[in-house]
């Protein structure tokens, strides 16, 4: 696979995981300063890692959520919660279980913040699917 094809595959994966609306926004906000970075993550994270066959996207979504809680990367955490609910096959129950597990390994305050950070996306999802 050449790098052009990898970028294309990465973009397709990124769109399927994060949703068109998010990726369109990210693409529209691209600047000369950020475009090399956008290209790199599209080829590497999306084109090389998320495309590997060993785990399905559901499993990958869960493990990314737990790492974002472990590191306290709340912006990225919320983005993945939203994507997991609206673009993926995760339900609020699945996210809740990951956060309970994180309470053990990352500490109760990390899980507490995670529940708060996830709350808006969960509420929107529940309203939309009611």
């Amino acid at each position: 696979m050449d790098e052009g094809e990898r970028h294309e595959l990465g973009m397709k994966t990124r769109r399927s995981v994060l949703g068109d609306a998010h990726v369109d926004r990210a693409e529209a906000n691209k600047t000369a300063f950020t475009s090399d970075f956008q290209d790199l993550i599209t080829r590497y994270a999306w084109g090389e890692i998320w495309t590997r066959q060993r785990f399905d996207h559901k499993t990958r979504r869960l493990l990314v959520l737990s790492m974002m809680v472990a590191l306290g990367r709340w912006e990225e955490f919320v983005m993945h919660v939203r994507a997991a609910l609206f673009e993926g096959e995760l339900e609020p129950e699945d996210i809740k279980e990951v956060l309970l597990q994180c309470a053990i390994y990352c500490g109760v305050p990390a899980a507490n913040t995670a529940f708060k950070e996830a709350a808006d996306a969960v509420a929107e999802y529940e309203k939309a699917s009611a």
Binding site: I49, R52, L62, L63, S66, A70, L71, Q101, Y105, C106
Partner: protein
Amino acid sequence: MSERYERGLAALTALNGPDGVAVIDKLSEFAPAFGEQLVEFIFGDVYTRPQLDLRTRQIVTISALAAMGFALPQLEIHVRGGLRAGLTREELTEIIHHVAAYSGFPAALNAMAVVRRVCAEAEAAAADTH
């Protein structure tokens, strides 16, 4: 012993085998209430919830421990637990691919070294019994 403790101890033994029980026994000599809380909260309350299967719990836990970076002794125990829960060597290394992108290569390299060591030990132990 409380029902919660009994339930937790059974879950701990299923996941971690004699390693896990040894940790609790050692703790019980020095700080008995701490060992009790560990069994009750981690295993009696969280691990026994049916909403997330043990294999997925291990994926989530290994990701979090690898991301935090300082918890390599616990990572080692959970990689062993992961093998016991049915994760293969290939699936364990697959988790670390994600760790590299989401938590940085230093965390991934340290975690990969743990996975490699535990898998080598498990393979040697399996060869011994043949």
